[in-house]
Symmetry: C2
Subunit: 176 residues, 2 copies
DNA sequence: ACCCTACAGTTCTAAAAACGAACTGTCAAA
DNA sequence: TTTGACAGTTCGTTTTTAGAACTGTAGGGT
């Protein structure tokens, strides 16, 4: 399965992974939320090779996650700014940070705390149901095909035979 | 920056990326939430090479995201089950799916819908502040160093000089 | 007993991606 | 005129991944 195949699968998760599912892209996006905007800024913050950085930035711009905006004319220079599509990645970033805070910290505690400006307190992000407001967990969610479905690959898909589970070997699920 | 270096950085995001920050791992985890448990199940669902699959499963077990449990003795066979640490990845998965639903669907609409068993409705996941219950967005969050901080790499870190931004070239941020 | 299949890997070679370091080009300031 | 900031590009080397075949245990059928 190649990278560009991923983005055509009928699974929102696969498609998203096609955009942000690699280490450097995720780290570049972290820097974006940290307000890094320029090539040298990303490069020195991350230690990524200039070659890869250029490539990843181009890809993110192509995908509409970043916008490339000129900030001077003399030698033409550009900044990379998060678009709304990019800003919408925030819940993913926060969910990733929160998992790390919960499961990957050492004795010293979490590297940083998040304060909500509105209420002034340090908080954790909590994911809730948009309809009833209750916190979500995997077991409470039932997934079923939507209008864009072809087969049914996604989190918590409906019943899947448990015991049999014997695909004819080599047969790949038509669209996973 | 090597993979195992990532996991030692004082940044919960970098550490988490060290665990789940690659395409195949994320896809394998999708399958786990889909209730796939066995080697052949993952392989045929994803089309991943057997070599890589074996390696990724080992890594996830080592990191405590999956547990390897025998399900028969005859020829020894094992299943891979999400631990609590693994189940806790659910908000990340849902955030990823939701972003895809919002920004990556084609004319046909989203591949699938999520129904909350408690309230019976199709929902979207919403991320809120654990303290005041208000929805979160990047701009409303201020981040500051916690007990485990060394430098300050993370989403929305406190002020960073905007104009100067001139690291001595080649100097990598002590720990990004 | 012999062959076929299911299952869970391991091994091997070729192809693709990432690394590292140097190089290009524009402009400003010293 | 030389140096340095900045934003890349180029190129040779090393690491990963892909793809396909092979290993080994065991059950079932004939």
């Amino acid at each position: 399965m190649r990278w560009d195949e991923l983005e055509e699968e009928p699974c929102s998760m696969a498609r998203t992974i096609g955009v942000i599912g690699d280490r450097w892209t995720l780290l570049i996006l972290r820097e974006c939320f940290l307000r890094t905007r320029r090539f040298e800024g990303f490069q020195s913050a991350l230690g990524i090779t200039r070659h890869l950085l250029a490539e990843r930035l181009k890809k993110l711009v192509r995908q509409g996650v970043l916008r490339r905006i000129p900030y001077q004319e003399s030698p033409k220079r550009h900044e990379y700014i998060l678009t709304q599509k990019g800003l919408d990645l925030y819940p993913i970033m926060m969910a990733i940070v929160h998992w790390g805070d919960t499961h990957m910290v050492d004795e010293r505690g979490r590297p940083l705390l998040h304060q909500h400006r509105k209420c002034g307190k340090n908080f954790d992000p909590v994911m809730i149901c948009s309809e009833c407001g209750e916190p979500l967990s995997a077991k409470e969610v039932h997934t079923h095909p939507g209008p864009g479905a072809r087969s049914t690959p996604a989190i918590n898909a409906p019943e899947k035979p448990k015991a049999p589970e014997k695909p004819k070997a080599k047969a790949r699920r038509s669209a996973a």
